[in-house]
Amino acid sequence: MTPLSSRPASSPVGQSIPHESAALHVTGRALYTDDLWVRTHGVLHAHPVQAPHAHALVTRLHTAPALEVPGVVRVLTADDVPGVNDAGAKLDEPLFPSEVMFFGHAVCWVLGESLEAARLGALAVEVDYEPLPSIVTVRQAIEAESFQGGQPRLERGDVDARLAAAAHVFSGELDLAGQEHFYLETQCALAHVDEAGQVFVQSSTQHPTETQDIVAHVLGLASHAVTVQCLRMGGGFGGKEMQPHGYAAVAALGATLTGRPVRLRLTRSQDITMTGKRHGFHAQWRAGFDEAGHLLALDATLTSDGGWSLDLSEPVLARALCHVDNAYWIPDVRVNGRIAKTHKTSQTAFRGFGGPQGMLVVEDVLGRCAPRLGIDPSELRRVNFYRAGQQTPYGQTVRHPERAVTCWEQVLTDGGVAARAAQIASFNAAHVHTKRALALTPVKFGISFNFTAFNQAGALVHVYKDGSVLVNHGGTEMGQGLHTKMLQVAATTLGVPLSSVRLAPTRTDKVPNTSATAASSGADLNGAAVKDACEQILDRLRPVASERLGVPVDAVVFAGGTVGVTGGEQVVAWGDLVSQAYYQRVQLWAAGFYRTEGLHWDSTRMHGSPFKYFSYGAAATEVEVDGFTGAYRLRRVDIVHDVGDSLSALVDIGQIEGGFVQGAGWLTLEDLRWDESHTPARGRLATASASTYKLPSFSEMPEVFNVALLERAHEDGVVYGSKAVGEPPLMLAISVREALRQAAAAFGPPGTSVELASPATPEAVFWAVRRARGDGGLPQTAPLVEGGLGVVPEQPDATARPLHPRSEQLARQTGAGD
């Protein structure tokens, strides 16, 4: 066991404790960014002027009328930008655009004494547009060859030869929809400038360092002149990884130009119409199986809907390609990826970060092919699981593949699946218009940022003279319980009670150069950095204790708020020792640092070992579908998930439950509809509020919901033996979609293979049932074809450049890329 992962007995780590801010949340005292302006004097409010076209040139921008509106103070336009007019790190997202790239794109911002004044001012701004042709679907983009960014290819073996020799070859297509984050707190920033010109931005951001970078480049300042703080977020889910930067920059620009604090908070409809979402994907695939159902080869081309700018589309696509295997061994693989450029919001990170989309492709393949192969879908999945020693298509040896099996078998047992399958069969035999089905799906999800350089973190731990401890770290809190875990890590390492440790808000002037709190890596990275800082402090305290207690330095043990030797009688209280150390002029604070070792990734070749480890899980979902309407219920869900040795079980189980429900929302309820007509409303998001965009609510909860953590799951080499938890459980919800597919199939004759749209809304299930019943006249949009004459995944142009994100180019230039 490595020192990083070994855990002392009865430590704060591993205790099921409430969320660090729970007491503030239940009393309404917890502050979010938009609660701050109410407590601030002389604040101005910002309101956007949103363009009513999917694609257009701004031919005239006349702001003077806005200034006539009482209370309007200033209109911010491109001319005001002293630095770089761009909201992103890739320089393809003008903050004040001259070309409108999506319906609702903000062309300028109005500052007012009240939000009302700013809003009326925005209405008064005169903008002339010259509308241009627009692309609003992936399929249109493919037809028009409208792509952006690199076109990665992940390849192993000889797919064509293997397919030619396979006993069964199927092909098909899949369109899968995106998802709105709908964090309950919309994007928000509050900016101040102090007397020396130091800019202070409070932002609801998962990536304070990048928010700082963008604010600095927009203002033409060095990074040290900008400080970003994030108190907490009312949900992030990836939607606050890149998206907050531009809004923070607008607020900061307003504050520097007016000398007054500027608050920018998006209304819900602004947030939905302006911020990026989960990428929808289009996939074409061919898959070969042997007689026993072993997957032999997969040839797929994935096209993501990137929206108008690159944003995080390249790394999202890379992760999608790296998860097309999910938990399955596929000897010969070729997966091509490309990013459609469409006139929509710039799609971005969302919990899972492409992983869910990649996995959905192979699960769709298995779910559709199983009936045609005459194999039970669960059995088909199970026979294809990775075995020890096998490698992923990108060349990483799969560590702990047996954990997928253990999760799977435990779900089968705990869920009483065999008995229920029999009950379902007899229920279905007795009911013509209602059918039930139970589906199991596995998850294997790679943990670490694909891009090696991002796998670093910092912390700053202060021990004050009275023995109390203040922890700063680079991660942000969005509800996932990171701060709770960091308190537990610090208390465990220092051997002090939790009550001695306090957490400070995330700020770029405390811990610089942080990575986004993303990729589920927050606790792994920041936890190791916090532990490092605490250990440095202990190393300095040990000689003090050794002298005081008259014991050898390496016999000193810190535990339970006291310092002594194992089994020894003589102890000194932590606070006393700290005080003594202070008078001996011992440094009582430390900066900790961590970087994940052993990672390697070459995105140009899509090859390497980008992940520290894999997270595993399995879910069994039972549904009941009404054949008349397509309406369905989730009767029962059983989950077993691997979080290593949990740092905080309440928090981890909460993440699994919440992730699963969010995934089920994506796959069954949440339906983004863009206007595809050729009217002036083309490109407008029709589902721009909670009244039209259906989120999971209490009534869609599974009727029975059992979640268990995999036991004996210690993860060597990770902080206190734990594993990441944020993203992987989301993909357990694929079991819901597969159960719906099987239930729809049960309306047809045995062997029916069902094509199911994604999201599988009741409407989509209704059509799936109709097709399963063989009702004539229904168009199959993407029929499953057996044999050679089906879909042939398009192979990208040989001249297309591979994936080579800007961040990697910069790393290469400095020789740090590999």
Binding site: P18, H19, S21, A22, A23, L24, H25, V26, T27, G28, R29, A30, L31, Y32, D34, D35, V38, R39, H181, F182, Y183, L184, E185, R232, M233, G234, G235, G236, F237, T267, R268, S269, M478, G479, Q480, G481, L650, V651, I653, G654, Q655, E657, G658, G659, F660, V661, Q662, S689, A690, S691, L695, P696, S697, F698, S699, M701, F705, V707
Partner: protein, 160 residues
């Protein structure tokens, strides 16, 4: 401008407001009661739920003038003498929150539900909170919290 007299969390206020001011705006911007938050603007999410004369309302969907002469309780006025209300305590203990943004509204709605039905079934809890959205928790622990609070409240009632 219209003058309103309203009692919020036990304190009487008399203020001039524009007739179209929403109650949530008045609470947050006028009185600084930022514990009540706005999630959706369209009365779908329930994050802004408060009690008006003891009954839950979505304060983004009520005008401040409608509260004139009435009593409003927000999440900030629920605890008595520093003692958490049983529903608050249950949400705290059962980890019925993650980002916490939905929590004030959820708690206010749960209180209202338990006032009408002291011993709700799981199904009744789900139906009673249907108008409140949570994007983080998957709702499971929220149901558990309300069940625990119901138990605590009934044992309190027996004990008193």
């Amino acid at each position: 401008m219209t003058r309103i007299n309203v009692t919020v969390d036990g304190v009487r206020y008399s203020d001039e407001v524009e007739p179209r001011t929403l109650l949530v705006q008045y609470l947050r911007e006028g009185l600084g009661k930022t514990g009540t938050v706005v999630g959706c603007d369209t009365s779908n999410c329930g994050a802004c739920t408060v009690h008006l004369d003891g009954t839950s309302v979505k304060s983004c969907n009520v005008l401040a003038v409608q509260a004139d002469g009435h009593e409003v309780t927000t999440i900030e006025g629920l605890a008595t003498d520093g003692e958490l209300h049983p529903v608050q305590r249950a949400f705290h203990e059962t980890h019925a929150l993650q980002c916490g943004y939905c929590t004030p509204g959820m708690i206010m709605q749960a209180c209202d539900l338990l006032k009408e039905n002291a011993d709700p079934s799981e199904q009744e809890i789900r139906e009673g909170l249907e108008g409140n959205l949570c994007r983080c928790t998957g709702y499971h622990n929220i149901v558990k919290a309300v069940q625990q609070a119901a138990k605590d409240l009934s044992s309190q009632a027996v004990g008193s």
